[in-house]
Amino acid sequence: MNAKPRLAVFKFASCDGCQLQLLDAQDRLLELAGRVEIDHFLEASSRVVPGPYDMGLVEGSITTIEDEERIREVRRQCRFLVTIGACATAGGIQALRNWGRIDDFRAAIYATPETISTLATSTPIADHVPVDFELRGCPIDRGQLIDLLTAVLLGRKPHVPGHSVCVECKARGLVCVAVAKGIPCLGPVTQAGCGAICPAHDRECFGCFGPSESPNLVSLTGFYERRGTPRDSLMRLVRSFNAAAPAFRAESDRLEASE
């Protein structure tokens, strides 16, 4: 590779938290800036160099007609397209709208609902264009992002395991909050990557990284229910940041239907 590879960062419906993981990378960001041309990153700089780009990072979900068109153009401009975060890979927390009526939300929130143009659903990028790699998380893990960029630069496979959060708890020597405290925790069915932040603070895993590689939600929620957690609480635990990820969606629908 003679010329430095060109990197672009794009935002769709999202809170910007995943892009912030890149901005907050500090020393690593400076190091990265020395190895790639950051040609489109509006959160960091108003300097924009037109595409095409070698690699595009896409944050956010598709929630408007304009988004649907823009993502196709972004795809055309990026040789390697990576979605970053729960919004881009699963529709995000805003995919809760998929279970409601968009007109009701519009009327409840906006003074002039007729001026709001939006789709009825929030959908992941991969529902609209082919995606080369997905980084999970709400937000993504900075270490995984840097690892992915390093992997692309060095031409190797990224170290992004599909196993459960439990692996990270056990590696840190944390005591399992589900077993020792009876707290319903999504860690056993959630993909690792966060470093087990919530269990380290005595809280359950909320499933920010979406379903693990072979999740068995029916077994886990059934066990928690037999231990006394109401089905409705379990439904809401599963239906959150990654509500529309297929495995989580199927389970929250199943729990809701059988309430």
């Binding site: 459960s164 692996v167 020597g173 399992c176 056993p188 590689e213 068995n216 066990f223």
Partner: protein, 398 residues
């Protein structure tokens, strides 16, 4: 006073035990001991014997662990928690080598300075047996793990003879407890407010002598006192074999190990594998808390330039898809195949490979399974319907 020597027994009170800890620390040991933290009894650096979990009991069952304070409980009446010697001798993550590239030439960085030797207090029979199993894996197979070896050779073991069993314990079935052995430096049997301390090695004798010089009173145990101390774990073992309720803890589990290798090997297509797979989460907890599971994976972690590379080893589990990934796909794609791989390795092919079972009956895999899958019940279910064959499920070897 009789000077301590291998095979001798001495009384130690709590102050004496502190002097043993102090003596170990003076020798440069990092002293690890059981302590209450985060709702469990964990192993961590021990500052003082007052931090030991005196008066705490652990109620354990499938997928459940709860501490209970009982003023009549001793210092070591809890059993095993989520941690084991494995966490210290074979840590979850370890940099095994580092390399730097300069002008196209690679140089390996020298290994970092030696760690302090470890001393672990409160190690039970099941975990001593697990240590012997890991020794075979890491030291005895012809491929010696140097990092493990360095820690193992300097390890000081203060064992404890159990006088209580949790409902998840089945060491008696596996022949691994509740007596401490075969190898330890010192072994404690708690009687009243003091400990009958058996010396198991020259190093143990030297540490006890050092504690004595620092003021520990080491009355020699009489022959009848030694008999009484020896009876403590033996009586517990008898009650475990009889599956009696021990104090107010439900009766321990048990496992019929008769012909277990052949039982499992002739039931590779038993329908129980699919039944357990409907409950198994593939979350890896059973393998990570298991004191004998030894699988690891190695990856190169480079900086953005690729000029600085660390070779990192981390725990791996046969419940993850990557563990059996080859030529682009996992050869054990179903949960049934992964559970079967784990259980059959642990209880059957381990015997072929290492001439010992991989299970010591510590019960951690039962307690720390988030949905309480119980290996003793799974094996009992297979034994009860020995020879049953699953309808063709397509599970096969995958």
């Amino acid at each position: 006073m009789t000077p301590p020597s291998p095979g001798s027994w001495h009384w130690l009170d709590r102050a004496g035990l502190q002097l043993v800890v102090d003596a170990l620390r003076r020798q440069g040991h990092r002293v690890i001991g059981p302590q209450v933290a985060d709702g469990a009894i964990v192993l961590r650096d021990l500052a003082s014997v007052t931090d030991l979990p005196t008066g705490w009991l652990d109620d354990q069952d499938g997928g459940s662990y709860r501490l209970r304070h009982d003023p009549t409980a001793g210092t070591f009446d809890h059993v095993v928690g989520p941690h084991s010697l494995k966490n210290f001798l074979f840590p979850a993550r370890e940099t095994v080598a580092s390399f730097a590239r300069d002008d196209g030439t690679w140089t390996q960085a020298p290994r970092s300075a030696a760690e302090s030797p470890l001393a672990v207090l409160g190690v039970r029979g099941c975990d001593l047996a697990a240590l012997a199993v890991q020794d075979r894996v890491f030291l005895g197979s012809g491929y010696v793990d140097e990092a493990y070896k360095a820690r193992r050779e300097r390890l000081f073991l203060v064992a404890v003879n159990c006088r209580r069993a949790a409902a998840t314990c089945f060491c008696h079935s596996m022949g691994c407890g509740p007596s401490a052995g075969p190898v330890f430096d010192l072994a404690l049997t708690e009687i009243g407010n003091r400990f009958a301390c058996e010396v198991g090695s020259d190093h143990g004798a030297a540490v006890l002598a050092a504690a004595s010089e620092a003021g520990a009173v080491l009355a020699a145990c009489t022959a009848s006192e030694i008999d009484a101390a020896g009876a403590v774990p033996r009586d517990l073992g008898s009650r475990m074999h009889a599956r009696q309720t021990v104090n107010d803890t439900p009766s321990p589990r048990s496992l019929d190990t008769h012909g277990i290798r052949d039982l499992l090997m002739r039931n590779l297509e038993h329908p129980q594998w699919d039944e357990v797979a409907s409950r198994c989460l593939s979350c890896t907890n059973c393998t990570l808390v298991c004191p004998t599971c030894f699988c690891s994976s190695v990856q190169e972690v480079a900086d953005l330039s690729g000029d600085q590379v660390d070779r990192e080893r981390h725990w791996a589990s046969c419940f993850s898809l990557d563990h059996a990934r080859m030529h682009g796909q996992s050869v054990r794609s179903s949960t049934a195949s992964r559970y079967r791989q784990w259980l059959i390795h642990k209880f059957a092919t381990w015997i072929d490979q290492f001439d010992t079972s991989g299970c010591t009956g510590c019960g951690r895999c039962i307690t720390w399974c988030p949905v309480g899958i119980d290996v003793t019940r799974e094996i009992a279910a297979i034994r009860a319907t020995d020879g049953a064959a699953a309808p063709e499920t397509g599970r096969g070897t995958s």
